[in-house]
């Protein structure tokens, strides 16, 4: 069986790849394109470690086939910092110590960025519900929530 040829935009750059029809976007990102910032946790859409955005929409890349992203625009954690300059969320995660082992962190950051793009001034409850699909076994979540709220405040200029 021939492979599927896919052209897509990844973190703003045109990218093309060949994939098996069963390969997920997560497998393509990590194993073919060697962008290993996106993590595999459960591979069943429960943990959020593989979060990316596709055409601006937050999704689990383990539940998307590589073949499905033809013509789409994908954003991963690798596209978050501008060169050496960290995104405010990344900086606030460091300041608040909102990570320990770090496996969930890329997914949490991608999900939090997606929230703040829609809602620059979320309540704590809104942050908690938006991030309910991003599991963290280390932090107990409070520091993550504080970091997101603090980053949101800074980004609003308040």
């Amino acid at each position: 069986m021939g492979k599927v040829h896919v052209t897509t935009t990844l973190n703003g750059n045109a990218v093309e790849f060949l994939c098996e029809t069963r390969q997920t976007l997560l497998q393509i990102l990590r194993d073919e394109l060697h962008l290993t910032g996106t993590k595999e946790g459960c591979a069943t859409g429960d943990c959020g470690a593989c979060s990316v955005t596709v055409d601006g929409r937050l999704m689990c890349s383990c539940l998307i086939l590589g073949a499905e992203v033809q013509g789409k625009s994908i954003q991963t954690i690798e596209g978050m910092a501008e060169g050496e300059k960290l995104h405010p969320l990344q900086r606030k995660f460091l300041e608040h110590a909102a990570l320990q082992c770090g496996i969930c962190t890329p997914g949490v950051l991608v999900a939090a960025k997606s929230l703040l793009e829609r809602n620059p001034d979320p309540t704590e409850t809104e942050v908690r519900y938006w991030l309910a699909g991003n599991l963290c076994r280390c932090t107990g979540y409070n520091k993550i929530i504080e970091a997101v709220l603090d980053a949101a405040a800074e980004m609003r200029g308040s």
Binding site: M1, T21, T24, A43, R57, C62, L65, Y129, G133, N134
Partner: protein, 290 residues
């Protein structure tokens, strides 16, 4: 695992031809939130996947003569963000909003929720209560079916080979109408319904219930339309007595299983409670007080 072909169909006709022409196992790919997991676990090994997200009717939300039609492959997030739809059908919107995390809702679809045919599917009782009609396209052309007639049991539907649920039509809303969906789960978010209840009702100018539909999920092999429960509301002012009779009719209609999420006895009792609470919310919405 054999070879699997992936085809992205641009029209319903192309999708139907692909599905009808395949020899082995075929699956329609919309959000993939159930399908990809079934494929990975080996429960299903398709020879062909037909991606339907490029079909305009399946991914759009339109108003037809004052009634909403939305594509079966519209994601929960897109449905929830549609202000006009959310205002007309808050109960259906709530139900779609309970399906998994933000990430899952970005992909998961009401059509997939229906055709995956889980008895606990959250959007299905809300859609049944709404009186939603599925528009189905297949090798023999187009037909319509009520949502309650699609799922027949866990993982099973009444769809014939090659048929696709393309879109759903929700009836035009009369004034003083309200709908609501509630589910019971033992935590606050991200869980599978132990019991779900969808209610849709309309009041006349005097505040008497002139139309009602009641549907319950996770208490039988498929979501049920409970006509006896609706009959308890119709003609009443949805007062204490009517709500009590409605809840009793709901509990009487339950035929649940015992499983790790709840016993039969528990589900039967809670179904009445959830239906009653959902009816109160639907009533407040119909009165414009919510």
């Amino acid at each position: 695992m054999g070879d699997m072909r992936y085809e992205a169909a641009g029209t319903l006709e192309a999708a139907v031809a692909l599905l009808a022409g395949a020899k082995g196992t075929v699956r329609i790919l919309a959000g993939g939130t159930d399908l990809l997991i079934q494929m990975r676990s080996g429960r299903v090994d398709p020879e062909l996947l037909v991606d339907v997200k490029g079909i305009p009717e399946m991914t759009s939300i339109v108003v037809e003569n004052g009634a909403y039609r939305f594509g079966a492959a519209v994601s929960s997030m897109v449905l929830m963000e549609h202000e006009g739809f959310a205002k007309a059908w808050p109960g259906v919107t709530e139900a779609a909003g309970l399906i998994g995390s933000t990430q899952i809702k970005g992909r998961a679809t009401v059509g997939g929720n229906l055709c995956n045919a889980s008895p606990a599917a959250d959007s299905v009782p809300a859609m049944i209560a709404a009186g939603a009609i599925a528009s189905i396209v297949g090798p023999e052309g187009r037909r319509e079916a009520r949502v309650e007639d699609i799922a027949t049991g866990p993982g099973k539907t009444s769809l014939a080979k090659g048929e696709i649920v393309a879109s759903f039509l929700l009836p035009k809303r009369p004034p003083r109408s309200g709908d609501a969906y509630l589910r019971f789960i033992p935590r606050t978010e991200m869980d599978i319904a132990v019991v779900g209840a969808g209610i849709n009702l309309t009041l006349d100018a005097a505040g008497v219930c002139s139309h009602a539909r009641v549907s319950i999920g996770a208490v039988a092999e498929r979501a049920l339309l409970v006509q006896e429960a609706a009959a308890a509301l119709i003609g009443s002012k949805v007062d204490e007595d009517a709500l009590k009779r409605m809840a009793a009719a709901v509990s009487a209609a339950c035929r649940p299983i015992d499983d790790k999420r709840g016993t039969k006895e528990y589900r039967i009792k809670v179904a009445g409670v959830m239906a009653r609470r959902a009816a109160q919310i639907a009533l407040d919405r119909a009165r414009g007080t919510n």
